[in-house]
């Protein structure tokens, strides 16, 4: 009788352990700094996926760099062959984000051969961390068939990353999802600082300064996983970078928006400006290069 009930009891213990582990994760996530409340009457605020912060797509900075007239520069990318160096899930996830940003940049400049190499590197890292379905042979074929149409390529890459993000969140791997986002953000800021070092352009400098809030959001996003190996070191480095941004001035002026109901569009008319000194810019460039090179090295 006891032998017959053993699998049942063992199953119960395993499920209990899984749930207990899940509760612990939730508890860990809940330790991230509380969000400011919009309305004191709102008694029940929920964090989306236990992480309330969104990070702008690295592709947006790549678009700005291209629009600003910078030519394609392969030297600023992480070498496509480096993927074999990354031996932990932590490094693989961060570099998946970095390669994703690289792939976006390459696609924008219609660099066919490089795009295929980088997509292959993305595919390998994605497979290693359990998301091979999002970067499979079908995507590779569709990608090759759309070479030259960078709008389609960017959509494909972004959709694959969105589905990966959903997969990680579904499977209680918010920590991995956060690393991919952090990797993409680091690479996009690195692009901007490298482009700016070649030729100082007002719009690119502005985009660098605008990362003041994003770096704070990244730190808050990661703080839920501070106890995990490697995460505290990354948070420390990003905090050091954030301290430089603290002295960058961001001035915002609210202007009432106007809405075109027929076209379902609202014009956000508010204005903002940033003030950043050449010293702050250099400090940010040096720090982001050090962080990025440690991750890719």
């Amino acid at each position: 009788m006891k032998l017959q009930t053993l699998p049942l009891v063992a199953g119960g213990i395993i499920i209990t352990a899984l749930l207990w582990s899940g509760c612990n994760n939730a508890k860990q996530n809940s330790q991230s700094p509380p969000a400011p409340k919009l309305d004191s009457n709102n008694s029940a605020l929920i964090r989306l996926n236990n992480q309330i912060f969104s990070i702008p797509s690295p592709i947006q900075t790549a678009l700005l760099i291209k629009k600003s007239g910078y030519s394609y520069n392969k030297d600023i990318l992480n070498s496509a062959t480096n993927y074999s160096r990354y031996d932990t899930k932590y490094k693989k996830a961060l570099n998946l984000g970095i390669y994703g940003a690289d792939l976006g940049y390459i696609s924008l400049y219609d660099q066919t051969q490089d795009a295929i190499s980088y997509l292959a590197s993305v595919e390998k890292l994605a497979s290693d961390i359990g998301i091979s379905d999002m970067f499979n042979e079908t995507l590779l074929k569709r990608f090759q068939a759309n070479m030259g149409n960078h709008d389609s390529l960017l959509s494909m890459v972004s959709d694959a990353f969105r589905k990966s993000d959903a997969y990680f969140k579904d499977n209680r791997q918010g920590d991995v999802s956060a690393l991919v986002l952090v990797g993409g953000w680091i690479e996009s800021l690195y692009f901007a600082t490298k482009a700016n070092s070649q030729n100082n352009q007002k719009e690119v400098v502005r985009r660098i300064a605008e990362q003041k809030i994003s770096v704070q959001n990244l730190i808050k996003m990661l703080s839920g996983y501070e106890g995990k190996p490697d995460y505290s070191d990354l948070i420390k480095k990003l905090t050091d970078l954030s301290n430089v941004f603290d002295n960058v001035e961001f001035v915002y002026n609210y202007v009432p928006p106007t809405t075109d109901e027929k076209n379902k569009t609202t014009n956000v008319n508010s204005t903002s400006d940033v003030k950043i000194t050449p010293e702050q810019l250099k400090d940010i460039s040096d720090k982001i290069a050090a962080i990025r090179n440690q991750i890719t090295g």
Partner: protein
């Protein structure tokens, strides 16, 4: 004897696990439908999928994001498989309301032409007139250059 003692807990645990998996599948399905119906292909996804299980229409999900100047953004907001189930409001960092779909029949998507970079907060709640219980709230963000 042991079986009798553990059976209720075991069943409860299995039930809990199945609810967790079912909620996840429900959110996935809503997100995929939402992307197909409300995210025009001219918009590039920001690479993230935001969702929350809201217990009732009194609960609010909120998240912080940045809209860069010179871009057009689309916010698609869904809960369930039909439109109009999610009410969302966009605030700036000073808590001024920039938009609320509650003024436009709870439209499932809206576009934002952004002049200068602005840090935003988006609130989402289940529509109390169409949701009597809990539901999965999904928000997707896409962008394109002006």
């Amino acid at each position: 004897m042991i079986m009798k003692k553990f059976a209720p807990s075991f069943i409860a645990l299995c039930f809990g696990v199945s609810i967790a998996f079912s909620s996840s599948a429900q959110c996935d399905s809503i997100a995929n439908t939402c992307a197909k119906r409300n995210m025009d292909p001219s918009f590039i996804s920001d690479g993230q999928q935001y969702r929350a299980l809201l217990v009732n229409s009194d609960e609010t999900a909120e998240f912080h994001t940045t809209f860069y100047g010179g871009s057009i953004y689309r916010i698609a907001a869904c809960s369930g498989m039909t439109d109009g189930n999610l009410v969302f409001t966009v605030f700036d960092s000073q808590h001024n309301v920039l938009f609320s779909n509650s003024s436009y029949q709870n439209a499932p998507y809206w576009d934002f032409k952004v002049k200068s970079t602005v840090d935003c907060i988006i609130d989402a709640q289940l529509n109390p007139t169409t949701n009597s219980g809990s539901g999965c709230a999904v928000i997707l963000i896409g962008f394109k250059q002006q």
